[in-house]
Symmetry: D3
Subunit: 133 residues, 6 copies
């Protein structure tokens, strides 16, 4: 199995609901360093997993929607806690849709699985891994 | 699949038995930087994999039993080599028991698997991964 | 010259004023991974630069005042931009005052200089370095 | 499951064929920081996954064949693009053959799988993972 | 003293002249992860050391001249060894000139010193530090 | 000013004397990841700060004297605490003597200063910096 990972980041504000979050119920924020891992069984005709330039660009465009935002203000996240693990899944779904729409090229359609990891600090990170259709 | 990792560390002395270990048969030591990865299929009602505060605290308490010890002095390790991979398993078993005992809360019982990674230097690390009951 | 560094982190929300900040004028946030470097010419009687336990604890207590806050709400930062470099100086001043007040012990008074570095991402960090009185 | 990883590196020149590579069609180069992960279900009689000294030495010897080379000059790579993912597979195959030939000792034959990861920069890395016979 | 660092990278081929270089006399290559540190005594009116967007962009443009090149082919490096330390100085001089030419804005003229660090692997890096006019 | 850093590591046991050390008064151990920074004003005739192969080899030989030792057993450290900062100085003195003895070659005599940094964990490190004669 082949895997390629690219790294980027975004910076957001948010707050959490629920006693379990303690002081994190207040409006605070995070830098999320994002690692996206693309997985496929065989390389394409260019000996690539995916066009790394296209992959980095697509990721960057997608993260720009969240970068420098207060996630509490976004309609789609109402009633949810935008935890690190939750956001990993959100970015997974967006990237999976982008791949299905052909934004990583024809070769991108050969990708079989994706892992999105968000590092919230030097001592904590979370990921979501799923298969692609 | 969702995964959350938290990092901590502990510092121990030990020695190894067997010619294969060469100079490491002498009493020496290591800093182990520990990464514990908690895995579950779906997030809990708070959009969490596990209460990260509780997880970090439980790990820290558990590592405190080994921290600043000479592992050669501990009854339970007699006749074994406390290699990096061996200690990864030891910590896995302790954490698995703590989770089963409810120390990561009710939600912690939803965890399905655990990986414990011990970094012994910038160029070597070992892990043990297993399912939870 | 001897130097000792300890690492911690805090997570905040804030916004910036001025066209130069572009989208960062919106409320967003950051994880700041903090490295504090203590400097002195000679070791103390215990062969230490400073009591590392006391140093880590003092830093953690100090960062707790900012952790999980929206810096825009804090009186003392009105009219300023709480940039990474600005916050490095703020933490420097607080630590310098704590050291002068004896919170790092008698030996802590032997410290000659301090550097505070805040990492805002894997590709950007800022620091403030100054002498102690 | 137990896993042990050792890290090394090598430095090469190469060029790529195909419009998709843009400026990387020119002769350029890379430092590849290499992580090799050895996997087995149970520890051996010494409480080891593999003799780490032997594993590091074998890896180093193997990488020396490529280190300080222009990969474009090597017969075996004619007609292929020596991308990061392609080279991860090449090193996997070499190591798998070395293990089968007993170069990691008798215990090395108990290894079940291998992952080879090549880091090409702080923001991109690729790996190949496969089972051993 | 305030310092801000930004990170980028470039990938090149080259060869060295002189017996001291051993196998590195052959055409090989490197990924250079580049850290540039901007230094000034006081923050500007926006509470900044330098406009980080402008600084990153200027660095990226400058590195693009070397990225995906065989340094042996460049006129300006004839008769020199393009070692890591040598290239750190080259990039320092280019950036210093860009700053003097106002490419980091008016505020950029307040910068007093610059350090350029090139990481050639996980175990070796070199830097050049100098004052600005 | 030019600086070159090389990284290596060693693993030791030791114990500390003094109430200030708490549980670290017991026999425990550490992995020290060692960064040595060589400094000089101008490059030598090969465009080098120092022969990096010779520097790495000299460092490795020097660290081998301490590697896999219980520092409490070494005559020279009786009555001292072998703290991270203390050991940074010890390695500095050894390297400075090696350089003075010509073990880094003629060019090595052009070195002006040296910094030795010992990382004891992902959250703590210490260094000693001094001039060379």
């Amino acid at each position: 199995m082949y895997r390629l990972t690219v790294r980027d980041h975004f910076m957001i504000a948010h707050s959490f609901n629920g006693d379990i979050f303690g002081p994190a119920q207040r409006t605070h924020g995070a830098t999320y360093v994002v690692d996206v891992t693309f997985q496929r069984r065989e390389l394409d005709d260019d000996d690539l997993i995916v066009d790394i330039g296209l992959a980095s660009e697509t990721l960057s465009t997608l993260l720009a929607e969240f970068n420098f935002q207060n996630l509490d203000d976004l309609e789609e996240f109402q009633g949810r806690n935008t935890t690190t693990e939750f956001m990993a899944r959100v970015i997974f779904e967006r990237l999976a849709a982008a791949i299905a729409a052909g934004r990583l090229g024809d070769s991108g359609r050969g990708l079989e699985a994706l892992t999105v990891t968000l590092h919230e600090s030097h001592i904590a990170w979370a990921s979501y891994e799923g298969e692609l259709q």
